[in-house]
Amino acid sequence: MKDLFIIIVSAVLIHNIILSQFLGVCPFLGVSKKLSSALGMGAAVTFVMVLASTITWIIQHFVLAYYEIEYLQTIAFILVIASLVQFVEMVIRKFSPALYKSLGVYLPLITTNCAVLGVAILNVQTEYTFVEGLFNSVGNALGFTLALVLFAGIRERLELADIPASLQGLPIALITAALMSMAFLGFTGLL
């Protein structure tokens, strides 16, 4: 139990998928203009990430390792993630057209989101058990959502701030992201 708690804290704060491992920066910058769509994106990525890493763990251990075809890891994992994203896209489109509109192109882009593939591969590489892997992917997904929501909150305030013309928009967002990343480095001594 203690180990699982450590895995979650480590994934959310210390090895935050965006701010410490720099995976999934594309939606981090793309869908962080509004708090509401950042939350929606976080939920979508959480769903895809947890489900994908669960299924990929099963595939890795019962199919790829069994037949000794581990070299197919990347393509098999991408297959799982792509199908899941398609599925999530259909569900969101059906039940929340507003969220579907605000996520826009970033929703299909979860397919190639390196955070999702990254967590799936990291779970296998660090040789987590099934439960450990599940907790790790939940933690990573929460960390992704946390970073996205915090960043969106800051960017909403930046909209009102008096920023020099040459820094407006993406430049100040990148500077903010760098400062956030440095702040998250402070969690290194937590464990």
Binding site: I59, V63, L64, Y67, E68, I69, L72, I75, A76, L79, V80, S83, Q86, F87, M90, V91, R93, K94, P97
Partner: protein, 295 residues
């Protein structure tokens, strides 16, 4: 090898089946008109309508946010098809607009006051004391409009001013939006008299900067029988002659009276000549608007 192929095929098959089932279960009813309009549009995704691609415009038209003739490069043919889908009459007699340059200050008429050594680009030049030209309001002549025109209708002339081909121009307005000096305007093709000057300085300074500048003498205003031309002031106190195209009857009296020849009367375009278009590459595609983008 055998295992690899089979296991991947099985995985793909399972996921495919799940997705096929889900797409039935979670099917969203879309407006069938969107699809039909999308079919009717040229599909070049040129962006001249201001929407993200042809599918974006199709959605906007179906929702009634955009007019049926919003696709400028598609001209009447596409507008007609879209109107059919929407069940309305296309306004076929709507006049075509083309871009007109409101400046005559070429290199021979309007001198440079410094040597520009930056990028060959109007937006870059305008950041440096409004460009090297003596006139702060005129065409800078770096050809940003020529570069942005999707239809090859703008060519830079020898005097450093863009020449707009009235037969190739579709009136999409990309150059008008892009011009940092705002010396291009969209005007209906039937209007023949244009004030080819945008200088808002007092007459003396305007004349110093450019030999064909509007000097605000108001001779045009006094001589116009239709009350269609006025020297209009803006908030900053600058002024320049502006034609009210709704009143103008193309008589051209102002053009003959203008002491600096800042007003020009042009020849009407020959409507018997069909609009110059690029031969459609794919004649089987009836949607081809012959915009020339594919070339």
């Amino acid at each position: 090898m055998y295992y690899a192929v089979v296991s991947l095929a099985i995985m793909g098959g399972i996921f495919g089946l799940v997705l096929a089932f889900a797409s039935r279960k979670f099917a969203v009813e879309v407006d069938p008109r969107v699809e039909a309009i999308n079919e009717a549009l040229p599909g070049a995704n040129c962006g001249a309508c201001g929407y993200p691609g042809c599918s974006g415009l199709a959605e906007a038209i179906a929702e009634g946010k955009a007019p049926v003739d919003a696709c400028v490069p598609g001209k009447e043919a596409v507008a007609k098809k879209v109107a059919e889908v929407m069940g309305v009459e296309a306004n076929a007699n709507k006049e075509r607009s083309i871009a007109q340059l409101m400046c005559q200050g070429g290199n021979d008429k309007c001198k440079n006051i410094y040597e520009g050594m930056g990028f060959e680009d109007c937006h870059s030049a305008v950041a440096h004391f409004k460009g090297p030209k003596a006139c702060n309001y005129g065409c800078l002549g770096f050809g940003s409009c020529e570069k942005i025109c999707p239809f090859g209708a703008i060519k830079m002339g020898d005097n450093g001013l863009p020449i707009i081909d009235p037969y190739l121009c579709t009136g999409c307005g990309k150059c008008v939006q892009n011009c940092p000096q705002q010396v291009l305007k969209l005007v209906g093709v039937s209007h023949l008299v244009h004030v080819r000057c945008s200088n808002k300085d007092k007459g003396k300074f305007a004349k110093q900067a450019c030999s064909v500048a509007c000097i605000k003498c108001r001779l045009c205003e006094k001589n116009c029988p239709q009350d269609a031309i006025h020297v209009v002031s803006d908030e900053q106190g600058g002024s320049v002659a502006v034609i009210d195209y709704e009143k103008c009857t193309n008589c051209g009296i102002c053009a003959t009276k203008c002491p600096t020849k800042a007003i020009e009367k042009i020849l009407p375009i020959d409507n018997t000549v069909p609009p110059k278009t690029v031969e459609p590459e794919d004649t089987t595609n009836s949607n081809c608007g012959a915009c020339g983008l594919c070339k």
